[in-house]
Subunit: 239 residues, 2 copies
């Protein structure tokens, strides 16, 4: 496995001016606690395509995404794949109470994470209601996102799916201060297809259609929303 642990010296510096701290689990902690938690963590890096953890394996760690994007997915025995989400900086991976990983996670491009042993994190959190409440909050937000995605998978057309995906991605990026004219899409067409319950061909055709209709413009570096109201209408299911 392509995993490299960064040196001890890097640890605190990373935590100190961590760009993800505002939205990560750490937001619930004061300075002292932050330092204490940093002692329990190690920073790990994964190169593009590397698997951080695999579905059904015993989960021994929690992770907090520091930089990069991950795809989180479940596989069926015949290798059909459903990407249940993409993780961005600030996202917390792992759930107390479930002994095994519920999905696999791998890096899209280079990724760095804070890794905590489940036990030590649990001990640390045990009597810190503020941190526990923060975990509930993050879990709730994740659950809301999952439910919204069920609507997409169960009840939307291909065009609506792509539009929803783009609007949702834009919102997530701007939520972590990465908004901008041109929106990077680090994942491949196949990832998008497996996220939206489509095939790669349908994704490609739908991008082409949206471009032909003047809703978006695609570049190697990402996508620009030309007709945001139209995209938002499609995303909302008005049409």
């Amino acid at each position: 496995m392509k995993i490299s642990v960064l040196g001890e010296g890097t640890r605190c510096r990373l935590c100190h001016d961590c760009t993800a701290r505002g939205f990560a689990i750490c937001a619930a902690l004061d300075k002292t606690e932050l330092r204490e938690l940093a002692q329990l963590s190690r920073h790990v890096r994964f190169e593009s395509g590397a698997t951080v953890f695999a579905q059904a394996n015993i989960a021994t760690s929690f992770f907090s995404v520091h930089a990069g994007t991950l795809r989180l997915y479940k596989l069926l025995p015949d290798s059909r794949r459903q990407i249940v989400g993409f993780a961005l900086p600030g996202d917390f991976l792992g759930l107390p109470g479930l002994p095994r990983h519920e999905f696999s996670a791998d890096a899209i491009g280079r990724v760095t994470l804070c890794q905590f042993s489940k036990e030590s994190f649990a001990t640390f959190a045990e009597n810190r209601p503020q941190l526990l409440r923060r975990m509930i909050e993050l879990a709730g937000r994740e659950l809301a996102r999952a439910q919204e995605h069920m609507v997409l998978l169960g009840r939307r057309s291909a065009e609506e799916k792509i539009a929803s995906f783009l609007i949702g991605w834009r919102d997530r990026l701007s939520g972590i201060g990465r908004g901008g004219e041109i929106m990077p899409l680090p994942m491949k067409r196949l990832d998008i297809a497996d996220h939206l319950g489509l095939t790669i061909e349908t994704v490609s055709r739908t991008f082409s259609k949206l471009e032909r209709d003047g809703v978006i413009q695609t570049f190697a570096s990402g996508v620009v929303l030309l007709d945001t109201p139209r995209a938002e209408a499609l995303s909302a299911g008005i049409s």
Copy 2:
């Protein structure tokens, strides 16, 4: 709204020999706390079809299901519907951190719930790590279920969807001690369709096919799994 609040006298009796207590959040509480929490709750009853709360409304209460089944669903503006789940006794409804209801909930048959004001529940939970951890656990379990459902919606055939649904329903019922030869399905065909991303006709046809193939047998009162291994194989995606 068809809502009736049960008398004060009923309150404690219900809590005392509550059939859902073992799997509800209350499982995290000791006797004293349980009594204290009971003070904050009121028991409410909804008749079949009544709406407990509606999507996008301000959430002022949390609920814990005491008896009955609810459908939890999201609507698109043009009235397409996705049922994101069914709630059973022990399920907790509502999430701290989100001001509005993320979905609507209504009763399938008669339902009774424990209702808590969000504020008083939050105050009660504030410094009870055990309760907070229990909430994380329940949220995590719910999230895992949501992700499994995404696989179903995005990557499974109609036949696999129905088989998965039946197996999942069986497991949930047995998880709350309601397992049995004949499995009641309180929801209508349309509910199943809107849960699985199908139409009512496809659900009906697929039930017929599974019955023709000797996998299930349907009765007015529910369904019997005749060929469980076959149903489980379909459910797992092996076929």
